[in-house]
Point group: C2
Chain length 361, copies 2
DNA sequence: CCGAGTTCCGGAACCGGTTCCACCCAAGCG
DNA sequence: CGCTTGGGTGGAACCGGTTCCGGAACTCGG
């Protein structure tokens, strides 16, 4: 393996000059720079990142902590992160952190504590105070995407607004018997993704109820004054379930099984849950959207296949953004301004497809 | 950040002894070893892997090259790899390599060529001769899982056997009009996963045809001698499609749309394709398995939900195995025997669920 | 023509470990 | 009792880069 001293010898310069010529730092005459570069490519020289990071303290490597890879959303985000890092010449070291087992302490105390990563991107994991302090003590920037830890750069969509928007879509279509399939733990953890979406659901329903109780306030809807009679409250129910297709399927069978109190619309916390619901509906002989409207969240790659109306978020783009923030915190980004849109929630938008329709009285 | 010299000073020994005590190499008196360890934990010493790898040449890090993370199968395998590496104290550097773009050359010539990884695990990517040589020149072990490169350790299921097994299952159930939804490119690349599964399908059909043409040979089936009349050939068709749910759905609609030549059984190259077919069948008002039997490959996490008969393979387990082989090639595994089951294909097994049934005359 | 400021370059220290080698000393052996 | 053997330890070289510092050469303004 050729070392930089070999390059220097071949080019007839010192190690110092060779280093300057190859790294671009410091002043080197254009002519000698070319000689060095030529010599390097001639013997196939490749710098050892270990040696470089030993002295500079920078590893050109960032750690990514993620609870699953095995799901569309996280996989997509990981791809976005990977692409962005690779483009910037960074390596990506993956730490797959399943639900708080013993592996977690090991990752933070051993793997991340070493000087092998310049920064850490944490996805959908709530860091403990100690974990944050441990990384800060080693001066490693942390960028959190989702999750609800403190004291770090944070990127997140506004999950409550998502719940609000999805529910309002169903309400605007005239649905009055609505179910929300919330993620497990939505009730116990009000600040979790599941909890916030459920809160948005409840708030939207509450607002609609107030509207219906007080006909005078109904102006925005443009309803004719004459027909302003008091309406009954919205029939809303929240069911907690695992946020995957099987969870949605099970919950859907249960929810839609009894024709008596069957809702006419379902807001599923994620698209995969929605897929499960749609399958359950079909299994029960219900037609979507005629008998049941369904809306999800994510704009999953299969959403179009299921013709699913959804609140779109772009996980790959979010990953890219997380990398940008991280590199900026490392001062390794052309743009100087530290954090342009810090704090602002990430974009989401309603994508209307064929799984939602006006309620048939 | 405390360095090993700090530990040495505190313990009253030399750097050399401190290094020996902490790494476990060489002879150190038990008493002094304890003193060093005590001193190290006292000041929170953590060894710099960069410095260590600079001199030892080992980085305790392996690179993983994978075409997607954004799919159940690859995500699952990645999880298996990650878990195994973490358990062995190794880091995992991820290189997500989308279909041969310019990124590919960059990954191999720049990222992997550096001395940052001890070994490379390549998943479902066909390495070029040059790529293999490049890594071998740097003495980095390569473990391939799937794909069809040469000259390296290789782990793979027997895809032809998979196709054979799946098709025989349908044939044994009495189906005579069978379609195979092969992966795109199955025809062009006979050694690819898609090509091999399709070959297995064709071979099984050919064998059954031979059987039906020559009634005398029919003994295994135990059919009564008297009824041994010559039967028509199996009606088999191969359709190439993208191996995902949308691909299966589209192909399914097309295939099942015309009641005239509708097959009674479909062998889908992957479970996700099968899911698409099942949805297409349901959309067309067909009942699975009454009107159509469907079999897939993978034992996807949703296979049970779709009640899908499938040929199971365990990607996470395959990932774990790949790591084991890689570490063994690095001599970093307790077991000394270099490659125990080298060459032998990985295990698969038929999982019969409710999506396949006996053909109704 | 002479100092000041640049540009360009080489020598050497340094990052933080590992390992070779030499040395000391105690135990075992003929 | 002298000699080997080998465990236990410290000094120093070394891995492969980067960077500080100082010197040489060259430019430029006064």
């Amino acid at each position: 393996m050729p070392a930089i001293s070999d390059v220097a010898r071949l080019a007839g310069v010192s190690k110092a000059t060779a280093s300057r010529a190859l790294s671009g730092r410091g002043h080197v005459a254009e002519q000698t720079r070319l000689r060095v570069v030529q010599a390097a490519s001639e013997i196939g020289y490749i710098a050892s990142p270990d040696a470089a990071s030993l002295v500079t303290g920078r590893t050109k490597n960032v750690g990514v902590v993620i609870p699953f890879v095995n799901s569309w959303f996280f996989g997509e985000m990981l791809e976005g992160i990977e692409r962005a890092l690779l483009g910037a010449g960074y390596d990506l070291t993956l730490y797959n952190l399943p639900e708080g087992g013993p592996a977690r302490a090991r990752v933070f105390d051993f793997f991340l504590a070493r000087k092998r990563v310049d920064a850490v991107i944490v996805i959908a994991v709530d860091l403990t105070e100690g974990e944050v302090r441990g990384l800060e003590r080693r001066e490693k920037p942390i960028v959190c995407v989702g999750g609800s830890g403190d004291a770090t750069a944070r990127l997140s969509i506004d999950d409550r607004a998502v719940g609000l928007l999805a529910t309002e879509h169903l309400l605007h279509l005239g649905h009055t018997r609505i179910a929300h399939l919330a993620g497990a733990g939505a009730g116990l953890q009000p600040n979790s993704m599941a909890g916030l979406r459920a809160a948005g659901f409840r708030d939207a329903v509450a607002a609609a109820d107030a509207d219906r109780m007080d006909p005078a306030a109904r102006v925005a809807g443009g309803a004719p004054r004459g027909s302003a009679t008091e309406l009954g409250p919205i029939d809303a129910i929240v069911i907690e379930t695992e946020m995957g297709m099987p969870g949605g399927f099970e919950a859907g069978l249960q929810l839609l099984g009894h024709p008596a109190h069957r809702p006419t619309a379902v807001f599923a916390a994620t698209d995969e849950t929605a897929f499960g619901v749609i399958r359950a509906a079909e299994r029960l002989g219900l037609s979507v959207p005629r008998d049941l409207s369904v809306i999800g969240v994510d704009d999953h790659e299969h959403a179009a296949l299921f013709d699913l109306t959804t609140i779109a978020q772009a996980p790959a783009e979010q990953g890219r953004l997380a990398v940008e923030v991280a590199l900026r915190m490392l001062g390794d980004d052309a743009r100087a301004d530290p954090l342009p849109d810090s704090g602002a929630p990430l974009a989401t938008r309603l994508v209307v497809r064929g799984s939602t329709a006006r309620a048939t009285a």
